[in-house]
Amino acid sequence: MLRMLWSRLLGVIPLLFIVTVIVFGLIFLVPGDPAVTLAGENATEERIDEVRSNLGLDDPVVVQYGRWVGDAVQGDFGTSLFSSAKVTDLVGGRFTTTIVLTAGALVFALAVGVPAGVLAASKRGSWVDRLVTLGATTGVALPSYFLAMLLILFLAIRNSWLPATGYVPFGDDPAEWAKSLVLPSIALGSSGAAVTARQLRSSLIDVFAQDYVRTARAKGMRSHTVVLKHALKNAAIPVVTVLGLQISFLLGGTVVIEQIFGIPGLGQLAITAVTEGDLPLIQGIVVVATLVVIGVNLIVDLMYGYLNPKVRAR
């Protein structure tokens, strides 16, 4: 187990290297120069040259990358080209918001997806099953931004039950914090709920056909004990796999959802950074996002071990 953890953690290093090199390369392939923007709107060519050399933007790409890596391994991700704020501060400030939003979406996905999947599998072929299947298909097909618009229109504008935009930090007002999270979490998590319900339904149906379930039922165990205690754990493996993928997907989805709800998260920061060509900031965001995805994958792998002792044995 520990060895697996070690090898996974070591594997992160080459992965991060490749990812940051790609991002660096992509940005340098795009023509243009942030120094021109920075020098102001009434600039002269001398001013631009001055800004460029002050920021070291006139050094060769390899030198710039080397400098960035050198600082990054010491935990210094540099300063934003445009606001001269520390990248770690900017990303750190936004990171929590995005993680909270992602978690909210995940909670919604599980809270809706798991019961729906269990119900549909238990009552296979009934109207409940058909309803869940229909709902899940719609949930997957409906783009999150469209659902977001509908939710805002009906729950925030026509009826002012929930805020239409914005995010209130937990520390400021826990009740408002929860309210500000409801609509974005639903919009972001709906496809996750649908996928979870579908996965769980089909894998539960497989498990129900297994001998041990039949045995459990035959010895008179109550139906919900069979489902919740025995079947669910074994049916969970494919669901956990899908959930792992969903989290990366949700993280990407926050870019759109944060924009619609005006939530100051990592996604919004990413859009600003990319449109301004703010290289250090883009790199910081990419590294953090990569780390999150790697972390999630690691947790998923550890979950396999918990759910299936056969994996643990290795």
Binding site: G32, T37, Q259
Partner: protein
């Protein structure tokens, strides 16, 4: 759907009524040209909008805007859009009226010396910065010098005309100039004239924590998300501050901003043209604000066909401006124009109307043939990848195709546009917005003189050089306006540019907001705005 626009002066006084879309016509605003003696327009506590009820000084005005400042250091803030958030907390030597003319700010009055070699300013007495430091001639001298020399200054080129700042006495200052600088007062109404407390020059947190002498202090700042402003009790013009603070949200998406307003989370914002009908049907107040900013097809004169004035005039005749305004902007997002200054502005020459370059593809084709291009030509047209500019670029491309000119679109990242077209001098044409400048001479100099930074092919004519130089000479505001108009006329007749339309911004707000004005500069100042209970 054709709507009418509220001229600036009308917008100033009408406020709420204007929201019903009732402006009479787009008649030019009656601007008296730049006298330094009129009262600051912002302190319009007599706005009839307040008939709706008394302002409640304990209320916070909640607004949503598209961008936050690049930084709060006024001399290093690099974008003119920074002005909206900076104006609230930094006061400038010179203010702008809502009609974009120079009016007294921290300087009560100013006068050029007889030979135009110096500008004398009398400063307002009794002003203190937010940190308690006094505002005086020494502070002005220190600020100008900092703007000229601070590392990564974004205003040094604007202040280069000031050779030296002399402290005459505590509240009188003299700028010794090294060239014609009639534009200086309005230049000082921008970031170049913002006054920062000299005690804060070396503050490490200046980029996030401003120390000015403006209407509000910054209590909280979450970059690109929210700025919390609190009223500065000692502000020299109490009428300008009618609220306890401003909650300034930064939301890039127009639909998001409108949703926030409709659900009562904010009081004031502006939207894109497609959201206007929704805003109106939701019962919100609407004010359509014209501005100095325009969209144009800019030409690089080093490309042979564009060096020929007949070709440039043909291009002007090929553009169907009305169709673009009606089709792309739904008739409410812009006003067609051919001069580099909009109607109602003191540098606009009223003797030239948009008819000068009437849409006439037939004639344009003939003109091209006369100029030696019977089969047209092909050029690379740079178009930044912003949705509305992409649409405009495609419309221009289609209209030019009508006269046999092939514009090959090269899409570029918005932040890289200036570098590619102005510095690398790539591409022969550029479709983009020009934000306007505080002083008309800045636009003339940058875009239409050979030395202009934003004129990659040095496209100009002798007549334009002469008229632009004349407009920089120190003279009475009335005479200078005439010179500016002459320069504008010359630019237009020589077709140095293909101006398409001036933007108008639909401002929407809740009915309990008072004192809403349209700012010609395109940078709302929120002076004197209030919220009734």
């Amino acid at each position: 759907m054709k709507r009418r626009f509220v001229p600036i002066v009308l917008a100033l006084s009408v406020g709420v009524v204007a929201a019903c879309g009732g402006g009479s016509s787009s008649e030019p605003a009656d601007t008296d040209s730049g006298s330094a003696s009129s009262a600051p327009v912002g302190s319009s506590s007599d706005s009839p909008a307040e008939a709706a009820g008394e302002n409640d000084p304990t209320k916070v005005l909640r607004v949503s805007y598209t961008v936050g400042p690049s930084r709060f250091d006024p001399h290093r803030a690099s974008s003119s859009f920074d002005n909206t958030s900076l104006f609230l907390t930094y006061d400038r030597l010179v203010h702008q009226s809502s009609g974009a003319e120079a009016v007294p700010g921290l300087a009560e009055s100013w006068e050029f010396s007889e030979d135009g070699g110096a500008l004398d300013m009398k400063l307002r007495e009794g002003v203190t910065f937010h940190d308690g430091e006094p505002f005086n001639a020494e502070a002005v001298k220190a600020n100008i010098e900092r703007g000229q020399t601070v590392e990564n200054s974004a205003v040094s080129s604007e202040l280069a005309v000031i050779e030296e700042v002399e402290v005459v006495d505590e509240f009188n200052v003299r700028f010794v100039l090294n060239g014609d600088a009639a534009s200086l007062p309005l230049v000082l109404s921008d970031r170049a004239g913002m006054q920062l407390s000299p005690a804060a020059f070396d503050n490490a947190d200046l980029d996030v924590q401003p120390v000015g002498a403006g209407m509000f202090t910054v209590a909280e700042y979450d970059q690109d998300a929210r700025i919390v402003y609190e009223a500065y009790d000692d502000y020299w013009d109490p009428d300008a501050v009618q609220v306890a603070g401003i909650d300034f949200l930064i939301q890039t998406d127009s639909v998001t901003r409108l949703n926030a307003l409709r659900s009562g989370q904010i009081d004031w914002t502006f939207v894109d043209p497609p959201q206007v009908s929704e805003a109106e049907s939701a019962g919100l107040e609407l004010l359509t604000v014209p501005s100095l900013a325009y969209y144009h097809l800019q030409l690089n004169g080093s490309f042979e066909p564009f060096a020929d004035p007949v070709v440039r005039q043909a291009l002007n005749h090929a553009i169907n401006r009305d169709a673009i305004v009606d089709g792309l902007l739904l008739g409410i997002g812009g006003i067609a124009g051919v001069q580099p200054f909009p109607e109602g502005y003191f540098a606009h020459d009223d003797s030239i109307s948009a008819d000068l370059y009437e849409y006439d593809p037939e004639m344009a084709r003939q003109m091209l043939a006369d100029a030696g291009y019977p089969d047209g030509f092909t050029f690379e047209m740079i178009v930044p990848t912003v949705p509305n500019i992409t649409q405009l670029g495609e419309a221009v491309q289609a209209q030019l195709a009508e006269i046999g000119v092939t514009a090959e679109i090269r899409a570029v990242q918005p932040s890289q546009t200036a570098d590619i077209f102005y510095v690398q001098k790539e591409g022969q044409g550029l479709v983009s917005p020009w934000g306007g400048r505080p002083d008309p001479s800045q636009t003339l100099g940058l875009l239409y003189t050979a030395a202009g930074f934003s004129n990659p092919g040095a496209l100009t004519t002798d007549a334009v050089e002469e008229t632009s130089a004349a407009a920089l000479e120190v003279q009475s505001p009335e005479d200078r306006a005439l010179d500016l108009q002459a320069a504008s006329r010359q630019v237009t007749e020589d077709a140095l540019d293909v101006v398409i339309y001036f933007t108008t911004t639909p401002v929407v707000y809740a009915s309990n907001v008072t004192g809403v004005e349209g700012w010609f500069s395109g940078k709302p100042e929120f002076r004197g705005m209030g919220v009734t209970s």
